[in-house]
């Protein structure tokens, strides 16, 4: 009798189940959600043998201080994303590589050494019940499984026993400065020329108020040329929304699907994984590209 599940010994500050998100329901007000660093998810799933469509199998996303787990069955795991110490029954194990964890052993995912969010992938993936086609925890609207709590037990999917392999080295960690390429618009015409110049040239900093909904920034306030409200309109991942205080917010996975503040620019999706790893205080620059 096998009990394919993993028990939570230490939940950490905020650990959630994430896959590649809940696509296709934005018109019902459902955020996309999903891992903030999807590149890490794909890589780690490949490492544990979740290949093809299973590259998007559900993993754990930790925040700052990792978590600790006790699998009830032998399972292959891989820890990546933000670099952190990994231990199995107290002994150091590899980060960014497949690790076999025996049944009943303690897997410790330590605090991030760089970056914010580490990911833990499992052979077979986490098999919590999907909601609208995804197992992701959506912190804006409360869909999907609750954030991890001590004592929770998460089911695992059937292991394929395929050996994983990757052709790219694990990502080494976030840069000291976050450079975000953006395409201006759709509402750049709501801002003064001086504001647009400041946006493209001045340095911002990641605010500690950032979360899975948005990367909040401190820095020059962007002044509008027109007052008043924008009628609510659809919002995309990476939208740089500017609320009345003028401080831009970069929308991340759990962003609302519609909003009434103007979007000055949109960050390239490829740059958002790094944004998810930027600790508070990290300098940020926006580079307009076409």
């Amino acid at each position: 009798m096998t009990d394919r599940a993993v028990a939570v010994v230490r939940a950490g500050a905020l650990t959630t189940v994430q896959d590649l998100g809940r696509v296709g329901y934005a018109h019902l007000g459902v955020p996309r959600s999903g891992a903030l660093d999807p590149g890490a998810v794909r890589l780690l799933n490949r490492l544990v043998g979740n290949l093809g469509a299973r590259e998007g199998a559900a993993v754990l996303e930790t925040t700052v201080d990792g978590c600790a787990l006790r699998p009830r069955c032998a399972v292959t795991v891989a820890v990546g994303g933000a670099p952190c110490p990994v231990r199995v029954d107290g002994r150091p194990a590899a980060w960014g590589a497949a690790v076999r964890v025996p049944a009943g052993s303690l897997l410790e995912v330590g605090a991030a050494v760089r970056g914010l969010r580490s990911y833990v992938a499992f052979g077979g993936g986490l098999a919590v019940d999907p909601v609208l086609g995804s197992r992701s925890t959506d912190l804006l609207s409360g869909l999907g499984p609750a954030p991890l709590a001590e004592g929770a037990v998460l089911p695992l999917g059937a292991d394929t026993a395929v050996r994983g392999s990757v052709d790219a080295p694990p990502w080494p960690g976030p840069p000291d400065e976050l450079v975000l390429r953006v395409r201006l618009g759709p509402r750049d015409d709501w801002f003064t020329a001086a504001a647009l110049h400041a946006f493209a040239t001045r340095a911002y900093r990641v605010s500690p108020a950032s979360n899975r909904i948005g990367l909040r920034l401190e820095g020059p306030a962007l002044e509008r040329v027109r007052p008043g409200e924008l009628a609510s309109e659809g919002m995309v991942l990476g939208a740089v929304q500017v609320p009345p205080d003028g401080r831009p917010v970069v929308f991340l996975a759990d962003h609302p699907t519609t909003g009434g503040y103007p979007v000055v620019a949109v960050v390239r999706e490829a740059d958002l994984g790094a944004a998810a790893q930027a600790v508070p205080g990290t300098p940020v620059r926006f580079i307009p590209v076409r």
Binding site: G24, G29, R183, E233, G234, P256, T258, V266
Partner: protein, 221 residues
Amino acid sequence: MSVRTLRVGDRALLVELAGGTETEAFHAELLRRRAAGALPGVREIVPAARTVLLDGVDDPGRLAAELPHWEVEPLHARVEAVVEVPVRYDGPDLAEVADLWGVSVEEAVRVHSATEFRVAFCGFAPGFGYLTGLDERYGVPRRATPRTAVPAGSVALAGPYTGVYPRSSPGGWQLIGTTDVVLWDTGREPAALLTPGTRVRFTTVGGPTCGAGDSAAEGGR
């Protein structure tokens, strides 16, 4: 139909229309084309007040060039059923809303329950629809101080819209009533009762204001 198409990042387009009716017609046209398989490579169609967002677009440049040449069918009266939402008009802000409208509470209930609404778009929370249909003069401001918890099933007004809270959440809308209808159920397809384009009518049930069916002229004040 005049449309303005704005690029949104590398994979999305925001189509801006002249008003709510044009937006509704354009959204219906998009759904028709998608159902006919004539809109490949578009992942999300998100209508809003005066725009429709097309997200996850494979070739946004090409689609942006095509859109202005589309023939958009005008909206015709639909034969599809109207979703009925039974409401107890017992909200804590009902009297204030009636005051803002310059009518009695009974008349406010009559006006609201006599209106055919339409889900213009969703947002704020899964299954929360922004319903249009009330005459312009019945627009009301949001409350100066939002409530920290609005109960699920609250029927509420803000600006030109009526909405129903699918679950308990903070909110600044004016609460005029309560319904027991389940707005959001992920075990149901679709999970939202009120999807964009759906026609809605609120019917009065129970309570002292039930059936305030005097014969005053529509919208009299």
